[in-house]
Amino acid sequence: MKNNKLAIVLRGIIAENPVLMLVLGTCPTLATTTSVESAVWMGIAATIVLICSNAAISALRNVIPEVVRIPCYIVVIATFVTAVQMILQAFLPSIYDMLGVYLALIVVNCIILGRAEMFARKNTVVDSILDGVGMGVGFILALFIISVIREVIGAGCFWGIEIPVISDFRIPVLTQAPGGFLVYGIIIAVMNKLTEKKGGVKRKDFSCEGCPSAHMCNKTSCSEMTELAVEAKTSSDNNAREEGEANA
């Protein structure tokens, strides 16, 4: 039983790491990893919201009606985000300013809604909290790794403190937008290489796993859905054309 609980925590950190394995929560990952400090604070804020919302949603899982569960989850999550925002604004205003709009955007972070949908609504409160801890630590860890690479090589600093030799050879573009995409891509490639040796891991794609909108479209991937849309459009075009010909 104890191993089982430990497994829930560990799964979020390594095997199902939300950022590196499931490719979720890409927006804050790329936006806040320009410095280690902002990345770690972003991770902590998101983790607090994740743990609280997992606990609340799990506790309410028998109360929330199935049909309107997504709006309910959004209200719960937005409440905790607002609370975190107010606490940071009151006690750590510099962090509040640094994270800016991304703090409010924790509401639409796929990881949090995804865990509510995938885990918290089917499991007990304790398990859900442990899942939140695991996923949160995994999120912080991934942000930390990416931000260390970007800040040390890009700005020659670590947590705002200049590193003597490296700062003479910095590559500033890494702290800007293109560097974010590049470092994230390379880290996922490295993870692919590492897991490949261990017997292979399923090929990563932008799947609906953890996508909060998945229940609304019920498709296996976004691209499949849009292909259907294109088909529907062409068939309706064809129908219209046939009708036009029939009229003529």
Binding site: V108, F181, I188, V190, P212, C222, K233
Partner: protein
């Protein structure tokens, strides 16, 4: 050129090119990476996002100005905005399905995906934070939406080429897509300063 119109053009161009939400500010990355495999899908998604952004701004700006500010409830901004946007997207989908089925057939499928899109919430919040008035907010949303569309279409073209490339095994799929996005973002650096020079501000 009158100062007002110049200012509006500046806001529009900033949204489209300079502060491109996807490539410079990392908002709306999920649909950018998920639905950019083909150009026609990218166009559909881009238009749907632009449309929802305009609707969302048209709804959230009055709510903020005439409800939240007079009642001193600004701290409820996040929770109110996300609920308004989520309800609005559902509403738009129902209205389109009922009254404009042709438009629903081409845009409808993208709408559920946009409910929790961070670019839509981001633009609504940023319009308030930047202190824009209503017209400026709408222009800003239009610019951001068009910028999203531009980035999607450009990137769909790039991805079409990547699919045929023999990338190293560990780079296939997500990693090579991100590296390509990095190069497209680098290209957008070329637009920095364009707007100021164009209008000689």
């Amino acid at each position: 050129m009158p100062e007002v119109i110049r200012n509006l053009i500046l806001i529009l161009m900033a949204g489209v090119l300079v502060n491109n939400y996807v490539l410079q500010q990392f908002l709306g990355i999920c649909p950018f990476l998920g639905v950019s495999k083909k150009v026609n899908q990218a166009v559909g998604m881009g238009i749907a996002v632009t449309f929802v952004m305009l609707c969302a701004t048209a709804a959230t700006y009055p709510i903020h100005t005439y409800v939240l500010v007079p009642l001193k409830l600004e701290y409820l901004q996040t929770i109110v905005f996300i609920l308004v946007i989520a309800a609005l997207v559902q509403f738009v989908e129902i209205v389109l399905k009922k009254f404009i089925p042709a438009l629903h057939a081409s845009l409808g499928v993208y709408l559920p995906l946009i409910t929790t899109n961070c670019a839509v919430l981001g633009v609504a919040i940023n319009n308030i934070t930047d202190g824009y008035n209503f017209i400026e907010s709408m222009i800003s949303s239009l610019g951001v939406g068009l910028g999203f569309l531009l980035a999607m279409v450009l990137f769909a073209g790039v991805r079409g080429r990547i699919e045929n490339c023999p990338a190293p095994k560990c780079f296939r799929g997500v990693p090579i897509t991100l590296v390509a996005a990095s190069i497209v973002a680098l290209a957008f650096f070329g637009f920095a300063g364009v707007v100021e020079n164009l209008l000689a501000v």
